[in-house]
Every structure is written in structure tokens, then in C-alpha cells.
Amino acid sequence: MTQVTGADYIRILPEIILTLFGMAVMMADPLLPPKKSRKPLGLLALVGAIAAAVATVMQSNYTGTAFFDMIAVNSFSIFFHLLIALIVIVIILASYEYLEIQHINLGEYYGLILFGAVGMMLMSSATELVLIFIALEISSISTYVLAGFRRKSAGSSESSLKYFLLGSFATAFFLYGVALMFGATGSTSIAEIARQLQAGHTGLLAFVALALMFVGLGFKIASAPFHIWTPDVYEGAPAPVVGLMSTAPKAAVFAVLLRILFAAASASAFSSAWFWLVWVSAALSMTLGNIGALVQNNVKRMLAYSSIAHAGYMLVAFLGPATNPQVGISAAIFYTASYAAMNVGAFCIVSHLAGSEERYVTLDDYAGLSQRSPWLAAMLSIFMLSLIGIPPTAGFFAKYYVFNAALHANLVGLAVIGLINSAVAAYYYLRLIVVMYMRDSKTEAPVLPVPASLGVAVVLSAVATLYLGIWPQRILEYALRSAHDLIH
């Protein structure tokens, strides 16, 4: 393909739509009086996200590569595009009233979410390391700013700055990796790199490049030992933003990791060194994440540690059998979707209960929630049970497929570590349920009536959580198809 055709544009249509809507939001923002609510912009962004989702669905008729093989549209990219679009829709719904409560009258909030989504979507369809890097930056810079959106709060600014400094550092690692890889193979195209690696012409340099890229990406998914920033950043950032950045960019980075791992690394001469890299990171993430979460009193911090642990479970899937890579890939894909459903739902509720200035985020503030707000308590319980991995919720099948992949690869040790971790994790998730149902309220944390937009967001998340837990079939089949498209 030597020419850019119309079909090429359709293959980045969701990104184009989101960019246009993002720009529209930014331009409309100054037109509104400063004190006025930014709800119309939220609606505009919502329309944009829905349009992007629709465009993604339409893309299934236009699979193929675009822009000189820099983009590949197939089931794999469509899956992640749709997932990211849905997460963005739910987060916009959850932010709709949240911003009013926090007195944040800034329209660029919605613009940044849309721009961030552009970066994430590009990450999942890019097949070329430089484009991946650019996409990673687009998504990261948006989230750095979003993390600091509660401007009056010192914690939020701290969160933003920390995320920015450490994030830039990690991105630099990634970029070094890309540069070294180019030095080793003379290409930045993943397909070409894979060919070179499998031919075995490359030396140690390529492995160092892969390891550096893993450091950079490991930071973004908050896997140990690159996880230290997570609790502080999640604690300070606005709750809906945490819901977004713990799921959507993670899903996108996992897409990149899957691409690099299964297209390039696993078949190469370094497969065993790479294997141990991922193995150690997975085991560490699960263990450190869960142990850290055990002692947290702040719900946002607890969920931050839990997200580290879940990144570890997802990494386990990366070690699926090399002979039948679809098992591992589909497990990882399914896990990202399940984790998104339950975690976004949990953060929607956290953001609602946090109240003005996010004052009510400790366990004590959740005491007796079942009496003050039975429906919210019930929904949050569903999300917690899913995070534990109790059937019939999404979390169960997500874990099941992951450990199934590990067992297929005869990784009994890692599977046992994972199972023990799941049992430990039950304790702190359960504690939240216990507090909600079995303690009487101590503080006077008021429960504001649930606004319709948030209600829709929570119900969507809960339905997705239960749907994936009761009828995982369709999504799993799609994940298998995505896996097939990724490796062929």
C-alpha cells in the first residue's frame, strides 16, 4: 500500500471523532460564562464518546491496515476501542454531577478525557513503536492533568505532580527501549522486529530494549516493582478520574504489551529471560498489592493497592502456553474488560459518596451505608464480590481464565501464589462489605440523593459485571477471535 485511501481514515474514525469532539468542547468552554455549570459540555462529550463507540462497531467491516502499516484494525483493536469508549461513557456519566459537587467549573475536563481516549485507542491499534510512543504520551499527558483537577486540594496537586514526574521518567525508559530496539533491528515496526528476533540475528541489545520497554509499560499498568506511585496518585486524584486511569489506559497498555510480547518477545531467543521478567513482576504485583491493601483505611488507597494486585493477575495471563498463545491472550483480554467493569463501578460509587472536597473516603465513612443507602451498598457489594472473584460475577471468570492459562503452561507455582493471593484479598474487600452492612454509622457522612447520570453509570457497570459473570461466552469468544487476529 503506497497511498492513503479513504478506508485509511475510516480505520482511525473513532480517534478522529473523539478529537473533533474534544476540540469542540475546548472551543465551547470559553463561550460559557465562567460561573455557569459545564453540564452542556459533558453532554457534548458524551455524544462524542457514543459516536466513537458506534464508529468502532462499524469498523468491523473495514478491517485491515492503514497509513503504511502503522495501524491495524481487527477484532483485537476493535475490542479495546470499544472497551475504552464504554469506560469513557461511564466515566463521563459519573463525572456529570461530581464536578458540580466539587465546584469544578472547567470544561476542559471533558476535553481531556476525550483526548486521553484518543491516545489509548491509538495505542491499541498501533503496530509501530513510534506511534505507540506518541499515543502513550497523548494519553499520559491528559491523565497527568486530570489527576490534578481538584485544584484547591493539595493532595490532588501532589498526585498530579508525582504522576507527571514519575510518569515522564518511565516514558523515557520506554523511549530508550524503542531507540535501542531500532539500533538492534533497524526497524520500529513490530512485525519487522518480530521477524528479526525470530531469525535470531539480534544480540543482547534487543533484550535490553525489551526490558526497558517493559519498565516503561510496567509503570503505566502499576505492576510491581514500578507501582510505588499508585496509592498516592489514586488518593489525590478526583475519584472518577481514578476510575478512568485505573482501567482505560491500563487496558490500552496491556494491548501494547500483548502485541510486543506475543508478536516479538515470546518466540525469540530471550523468551526465557522475558518469561522470568514477567513471572517475577506478576508474583510481586499480586503479593505486594494485596499485602498493601490489607492495612489501608482509605477506600481509594485500598482500591489503588488492589489495582496493583489485579495488574499482577493480568500479567499471569501473559505467561500462558507458548504453543497455544490464544489461551493466554484471550484470558488477558477478558480480564481487562472484567476489571474495567467492576473497578469503574466501584469508583463511580466512591466518587458519589466522597461528597464535597472528597471528605468521606475512609472506611469509617462507609459504616452503616446499607441503612443510609441500601441500593448503593448492594451495588458496591457486587463490585467487591467481583473483585474478590466470587461467582457468578465477572471477577470469577476473569481469574478462572487467567489461572487456567497458567495451568495450561504448567505454572503451578504461580497459580498457587495467585490463589493464595485471592484468598488474602478476600479479607480487605470483605471488610468494606462488613463495614457497610454490619456497623452502625459513626460519622455524619451525608448521602446525597443519587443523580440519574450516576445511577445509569453504576447500573451499567453492575450489569456488565454480572453479564460477564453469568454469560461470559460471547465476550470470551470475541476475545479468542481478537487473540487470533493479534497473532496472525
Binding site: S370, Q371, P374, L385, I390, P391, P392, Y400, F403, N404, L407, H408, L419, S422, A423, A426, Y427, L430, V434, Y437, M438, R439, W471, P472, Q473, L476, E477, L480
Partner: protein, 526 residues
Amino acid sequence: MIDNSILTLVTFIPLVGALLLLFFPRNNDVIRWGALAVSLFTFVLSLHLPVHFKNGEPGFQFELDLSWISTPNIRYHVGVDGISIWLVLLTTFLVPLGVLISWNSVHARVKEFFVLLLVLETAMIGVFVSLDMFLFYVFWEATLIPMALLIGIWGHERRVYAAVKFFLYTMVASVFMLGSIIWLYTKTGSFDYNLIRHALASGQTALPGNTAMWLFLGFFIAFAVKVPIFPLHTWLPDAHVEAPTAGSVLLAGVLLKMGTYGLLRFNVALFPAEARRHAPWIVALAIIGIIYGALVAMVQPNLKKLVAYSSVSHLGFCVLGIFTFTVMGTDGAVYQMLNHGVSTGALFMLAGMLYERRHTYELTEFGGLATPMPIFATLFLVITLSSIGLPLLNGFVGEFLVLNGAFQAKALFGVLAATGIIWSACYMLWMYQRVFYGQVTVPVNNTLPDANLRERIALWPTVVFALIMGVASPLWINMIDPSVGAAVPAGNSSVQVEKPKMAPAVELFDHAALRNEKKSIEVSSR
């Protein structure tokens, strides 16, 4: 048609009822009547099962097998045999009583309470009817949440501690079972109970090295915690003492049976060789449980704790019966599960009624209650005697069969276990004496009202069944026996053939069982 869907209906009608109740107004009376109607309807519907059960067929009946999820290959496969059918009925029988007993004792959050009770019913029935191991696991875990919430919200002072302990003990243990189930799936490609059993029995699925042992232990630990087998029983007294009355009734009546049912259905039937190999220490633990439970029960100053420890002792009999590998012992174990459900369920209801009146379970707070509460005392006496195992009442039949099986397997087992019956007579009668006989020691007890109409309606069915099951045991045993014959591994016939030596007293109540047993021996030896 109805035969295919009856189990699904019985399983899910409580859940549907619970969902409907969710949308009812917060009018406590409406909720109570609604819950009673749903649970009674379920019970009536479940009566279809024994009426249309084809007796003498050892396989599963009322089966329904639909695809649920294809990767992994999980099916919605339900069915009952002569063992599980009675556990389903026990569940549907006890839940309406649980509703009645909670009528006034639950004041706070009434709607949530009855919704959870009905959700729990669905999960419990689901455990007994599942023939797909995965489905079984789902229901197994699903019982945990409503039960833990029932204990943690409506329990007594240390309720949160008890609820969390209960949840963690059972959940951690069941992870091991899940590991075993998944391992079996990776080797057989199926979660179907019948398929896996066939694959293991015929040797199609080879279990290399120690694999069979680990699988056996994986299942065993999950069930042992649930039964509970000594020394994994420590969650039980806490959970029982802190639980609301209906919670205790269902915990003792049904949830513990899930453990013994699992031992029989999975440990013994799937891994007969392993079961035999590990039987010595399991039997030893069972006997320790029988004696230890009884001794600890004897010194309890708290009525509910006493009944809780008596459960440890009684469930020890069930485990003993199962691990004798004799048809008779296993028949007795299954029968004892039902007996225990009826009599201990009733004991917890009675204890709950006392608590409603006095807000204490301390035995020293009672005494001489037979004077102000004669009807209550009479009902209590019948249930006490049934629990002890007085002939003509249900407990006797079960314990007798278990002890018979134990003697056949090894005389020492029988001798040691038999002491458990003596102990149970000691602590139960001593308890009864301290509560009901003598002078009224605490003045306020003089004014206690006797059992009212609602309480009598809740108690009479248990008393009636204690009697019927004591004198007409063949009604049950005839159905249990063929299924037990199919579940108990063949190859122990050397022990079974000696049976005709048995005392003629056996003929009084279970000649039919013996007849069937002979039949099954013939079948197995062929």
C-alpha cells in the same frame, strides 16, 4: 415436562420471590407473609419430587442438562438421587419454619432479612441438585454471602467477628475444592459429575503419582470445614451462638449437611481408593469429634453453644457412617443428616424462643420452666429425646445404622462411637433438667408465656417428623438405599456379607433396607 423443570422451579422460585420482595413496600407484615407464601409454595412444589420419584433406580432423576457456557464447558445440569432428594426436601421444609420463627424476633431491616433468607434457600437447594461440578461450586459459594450477612447483621454481640470467621474459613477451604475441580476439568474436559465419575472409575483419566491424593484432599478440606470435622470446627460455635435463630436453624439444618453430602458425593464416590486409604485418620477425627463435641457440650453454660457442640458430635456420626464404606453405615449417615436437620433445627428454634422471652441463653437464668410453659416443655422434651436417639424417634434409627456399619468395619470404631450416645444423653438430659425441672429459680421466669400459636405451628411439624421418621424409616431408607449402594464403592463385600448376624431388632425398623442392601450387594458382586 414438569419432571424436567421441577428442580429448576424449586431451586429458583425462592430467588424470584426474593427479587419480588425487593420491590415490595417496607411494610413488615406484607414482607413476612410474602416470604412465608414463597417458602411454603416452594415446599409444596418440592413434594412433587418424592411423589414422582422412581424408586429403586440408583441413577439421577428429574434431570435437566443444558449448555450454559461452552468455554470452559460448563453445563446447567441438575438432578437428584435418593440421597439429595431428601436434602432438598429438608431445605424446603426448614425454610418456612425459619420464616415463622423470625416473625417477631427480627425487627430491624425486616425486608432485607427475608430477602436474604430466600436467596439462601435458592443457593442451598442449588448445591444439592447440581450435577455439574462448576454449578455446584457456584451455589456452594453463593450460600456463603447471605449466611454471612444474616449472621453479621442480625446476630448478637460478637456477630461481625463470627460472620467474618465463618466466611473466611469456608471460602479459603473451598478454594482448594475449586483447584481440584479445575484440575479434573483440565484432564477430562468436563465438569459433569457423571462423566468425571465414569472417567475416573474406568481409568480413562489416569491420575499419575500422588494426584489422586491431592484431589481427594482438596475436596476433603472444603467439606471438612463445612461439616465441621474436628479440628476445623472452631468457626461453628461462634457462628451458631451469634447467628439469629433462623440462621442457626439453616446453618445446622442444611449448611452442615452440604459438607457431609459433599464427602459422600465427591470424596467417596469419585476417589474410592483414596477414601479407603485415608479412612483411618478420617474415622479417627470423626470419633474424636463425636466424643470431644459431646464432652464440650456437657460443660457449656450457654444453651445455644451446647446445641452447637452437640452438632459437632452428631455430624461426627455422619462422617463415621460414610467412611465405614458399608451400605448400612452410609444409609445411616444420610438418615442421620436428615434427623439432625429436623431435631437440631428444632432445638435451635426452641432456644430462639427462650431467647425471645428472656434475651439470654445462659442456662443458669432458667430453671423450672415446665411450670409456666408446659406445652413448650413437652415439645422440647420430644426433640431432646429425638436428639439423644431414643428408640421410636428418628435419632435412634440413624445412629443405630451408623453404629452397625461401624461395627462391621471395625468393632473398635463402634465401641468408641457408641459412647457418644451415652454422652449425648448426659448433656441433653442434664440441660433439660436444669432448664425445665425443679423450682423456678429466677422470679421473672414465672411470668413467661407458653408457646403461642405461631410458635406451635413452627414446632409441630418437627415433632411430627421426629416421630414418623422414627417409626416409618423405610419410607426414607427405601429411597436412600439404592443411591447409597451406587455411591459406596464396591469391593467391601467381605464385610457386608457378614451382615445377617445382625440382631433381630434391626428387623423391627429396616427390614426393607436390608432387603435392598442384599440386592445391591448382588448387583455389585456380579
